[in-house]
């Protein structure tokens, strides 16, 4: 369940980014995409293969979270280029975590596998299924990758950590650098007599009051999995806390859910709720987006980069205009409060690439895989070959003069993501099936426009560990704690419980394992950072 929640959250933000890159890629091709996914791919094997090798190829079993075709173009490309023979386990992303557990549980351990979340990695490692991957080995074999991780994606190292040792290579997730957009229906604000987009909590209160008079709710909450992390996720940071993220406070690691700042935010939210500024349906999170589009709600905390694109007939703004031609939506700075401003973000670390235990005795193979990852994810050529494919066949520059700065256009029939994934290529923007996400420094160059939009009003608040439940005892306590947090927060906001119950909650939180986790969080933080 936890995994699904993560993924949902990750996906939506990622989805926004992916859509943008595809958009950047295809807008010039006017033909309908061909839809057959079979046949042509096999014949379209890579032709410009690397030097022919006389050595016997190394055989690698590789568990891939993508249902590509057998012997796909992308797989052959890697095989020929690096003189390996891949025996892939092809698993659809939706089924990956479950099928991985069963396959490994049956004692079948692939050489290379993507592990989606740190909790699974810890469990696999504790069962002795994974090879230890000394950080030094990574530094030796993939120096550029390691350097980028250390520089931009430091929390990734928490994902691959078990019992003080490193068990894999964290992957990149460039989309996690950005938070979702805050959006206002400025047409409604205007109708209510507010001319300036509210920038602070106090200005929000004034605006909500005015909006209420014209029968519009100011605030709601309903991003996927509302309950666990997305609950009013742009309001709490204004008070200086991001529940339930781990964060540094006076040199100590603490959890945002139990800080006095959260109580202050809850006081404000309960007050707003009582005054009728908050849509009571925020509890189920249903129709959040629909209500914003329909003009029943003025503020939206889950905006995407393309929402204001009027050339797109079903962007948020276009849909709103179809309902009411007067509609106006604007991106806004995140609300400013006594504690600053910000919004939940996942950070730039993604998943983990791990190795089967057997590779401890086969350092050559591990080295080979590292070589492949380094060359693919860290180089321009790797990106072109495995995310985009063959120039002229799978893609081309949008503007030959500008090269990558102008973006890529995907050529039909390969402008269809299904088709692309089927032949073992990436989506054209950010990842490929085998080594997953490319480093941001590679992909950003191709998406300059979108990155510019993403950086506007960007104030991501990232958990100290990236994902809050990577601690050793998380499995034991975390889900209960999150449940307690949701119940309490929502009860306080809706007035079912008084705000003073927050103090009872803090006590319960610590008794239910919160104190233990805080201890572990501090230990883990010190341990990793003293290196």
């Amino acid at each position: 369940m936890k995994f699904r929640e993560y993924r949902k959250a990750v996906l939506v933000t990622l989805g926004a980014l992916l859509t943008t890159s595809v958009a950047a890629g295809c807008s010039q091709s006017a033909e309908k995409p061909a839809t057959s996914t079979q046949g042509s791919a096999q014949s379209a094997a890579p032709t410009q293969s690397a030097q022919p090798s006389t050595e016997k190829p190394i055989e690698i079993s590789w568990m891939v979270p993508q249902l590509t075709e057998e012997n796909s173009y992308g797989q052959k490309l890697i095989e020929e280029k690096y003189n390996v023979k891949i025996k892939p386990y092809l698993i659809a992303y939706a089924d990956y975590a479950q099928k991985q557990q069963i396959t490994l549980g049956g004692g079948e351990i692939p050489d290379v596998m993507m592990v989606l979340d740190p909790v699974s990695l810890q469990k696999f490692a504790s069962q002795g299924l994974l090879a230890e991957v000394p950080v030094d080995t990574i530094a030796q074999n993939m120096p550029k990758y390691k350097e980028t991780l250390d520089k931009d994606v430091k929390q990734g190292w928490y994902y691959s950590l078990y019992d003080g040792k490193n068990y894999g290579i964290p992957t990149f997730y460039p989309g996690g650098r950005f938070n979702a957009k805050a959006e206002w229906r400025t047409d409604l604000l205007k109708k209510a007599g507010i001319d300036k987009i509210p920038a602070t909590i106090d200005e929000m209160t004034t605006a909500f009051e005015a909006l209420k008079k014209i029968g519009v709710y100011g605030l709601s909450s309903g991003a996927p999995n509302n309950a666990w992390f997305a609950l009013f996720k742009q309001i709490f940071p204004a008070y200086g806390t991001v529940p339930p993220q781990w964060t540094l406070k006076d040199g100590k690691v603490v959890n945002g859910a139990v800080q006095p700042e959260a109580k202050a935010a809850l006081t404000q939210l309960a007050n707003w709720y009582k005054k009728g500024y908050i849509d009571p349906d925020f509890v189920t999170g249903k129709e959040y987006r629909e209500k914003f589009i329909a003009g029943k709600l003025a503020y939206y905390d889950y905006g995407g980069l393309l929402d204001l694109d009027e050339t797109n007939a079903s962007s948020m703004i276009s849909l709103a205009k179809q309902t009411n031609p007067e509609s106006k939506i604007e991106f806004a700075p995140l609300p400013q409060g006594p504690g600053g401003q910000g919004d939940w973000a996942w950070g730039a670390a993604g998943n983990i690439i791990a190795f089967g235990k057997q590779l401890e005795d086969d350092p050559e193979k591990m080295k080979k895989v590292m070589e492949i990852i380094e060359a693919t994810d860290m180089t321009e050529q790797g990106f072109q070959e495995l995310a985009l494919g063959k120039q002229g066949e799978h893609w081309d520059y949008k503007d030959a003069a500008k090269m990558e700065a102008g973006g890529a256009k995907l050529l039909p029939p390969y402008d269809n993501v299904d088709k692309r994934l089927g032949i073992g290529l990436g989506d054209g923007g950010s990842f490929n099936p085998f080594t997953r996400q490319f480093a941001a420094e590679i992909t950003d160059k191709w998406n300059t426009e979108m990155i510019e939009i993403a950086q506007k009003y960007n104030m991501p608040k990232v958990d100290l560990f990236g994902k809050p439940d990577v601690l050793p005892s998380s499995g034991k306590y975390w889900a209960d704690l999150v449940k307690l947090k949701n119940e309490t927060y929502i009860s306080i906001i809706t007035g079912a419980k008084p705000v003073s119950d927050f103090d009872v909650f803090v006590k319960q939180w610590n008794e239910l394992g919160g104190a233990q986790l805080e201890k572990e969080a501090n230990e883990m933080y010190t341990q990793v950072n003293k290196k």
Binding site: M1, L104, K123, Q127, D279, V283, S491
Partner: protein, 300 residues
């Protein structure tokens, strides 16, 4: 012994007919049953079930010692009882009511339409329910038209069990009634003809012909389902729960889910075994009760 041999001999054709299915049944249902041992083990994947070290009752201790176990057990018990009292009879009532409809096309259409929800996941069912029941949803529009304040249907702990029971009936009544339609089709029509000749009213026909004819099927379905007493419908509850109702909606399945680390086979197996044993006790008792009442009924 020789009697048994004789019995084998006289039934050899039947035994021959019986064996293929039975062996398949044993193969897939009983050969893997050693997996239950995982509940008592500290399961090491690479060592396999048999060689993994024993853990005694530690996994069960983990199961029952988490915060809220008793509450989850209580909630599960309440929902299970409510479902037996209200949801179990619903398809029987539907079958009887439809049996009273004369127009065959109407009967068939209603049958087909009522079984539709079975084909949609609870994710979808909960989603349409939440839309229908939201504060300005269709139902509350009616409520407001009648001059009342709009009512909080989905996130009020006091209404949650009602919500669970009603939506469960709504989602399953058509599908579950199919077996009773089949049973009704086994009733000899001459019984009704004789009843009419004797001047039996419709109600008397239902009471003295329809219900007794359905009884064996009802008892069988009751006994078969009581073994799953503690499985009160995870998908439904999980999808209908909102933060304010968690207190009353936390059932064993959701409780276990919260502490199921990835690959924690031990806890999952222990929880399953717990439910199974409760189920077994209930089935055995219920079967005995039924046999007290009528020797020929009962599963075995």
């Amino acid at each position: 012994m020789s009697q048994l041999l004789k019995s084998y001999k006289s039934h050899r054709a039947l035994i021959l007919m019986f064996l293929p299915g039975f062996l398949l049944f044993i193969l897939f249902r009983y050969v893997p049953i050693y997996g239950i041992l995982i509940a008592f083990k500290n399961y090491r994947i690479l060592e396999g079930v048999w060689s993994s070290p024993w853990a005694g009752l530690e996994n069960f201790h983990r199961l029952v010692s988490g915060p809220g176990f008793l509450k989850a057990l209580r909630n599960t018990g309440i929902i299970a009882v409510l479902k037996y009292v209200f949801v179990f009879p619903a398809p029987i009532v539907l079958a009887i009511l439809l049996n009273e409809v004369r127009k065959s096309w109407f009967k068939r259409t209603i049958q087909t339409v009522t079984y539709l929800p079975h084909f949609f996941s609870w994710v979808i069912l909960a989603s349409v329910l939440f839309t229908f029941l939201s504060t300005d949803g269709a139902l509350n529009q009616v409520v407001k038209m009648l001059g009342f304040e709009s009512i909080n249907w989905v996130s009020d702990p006091n209404k949650f069990y009602g919500l669970v029971v009603l939506t469960d009936i709504w989602a399953t009544v058509g599908w579950s009634s199919i077996i009773y339609f089949a049973a009704l089709s086994g009733i000899d029509p001459t019984l009704y003809e004789a009843g009419i000749v004797d001047g039996a009213s419709r109600w008397q026909q239902i009471r003295h012909i329809t219900i007794p004819s359905l009884m064996p099927t009802i008892i069988t379905m009751l006994l078969l389902s009581i073994g799953n007493f503690l499985n009160v419908g995870f998908d439904q509850i999980y999808n209908l729960t909102t933060a304010p109702t968690m207190e009353v909606a936390d059932i064993l399945d959701t409780y276990v889910l919260r502490r199921l680390l990835s690959m924690d086979y031990e806890l999952g197996t222990a929880a399953g075994l717990f439910s199974s044993i409760v189920g077994l006790i209930l089935v055995i008792s219920a079967n005995r009760l039924v046999k007290l009442y009528d020797k020929d009924q009962g599963l075995w």
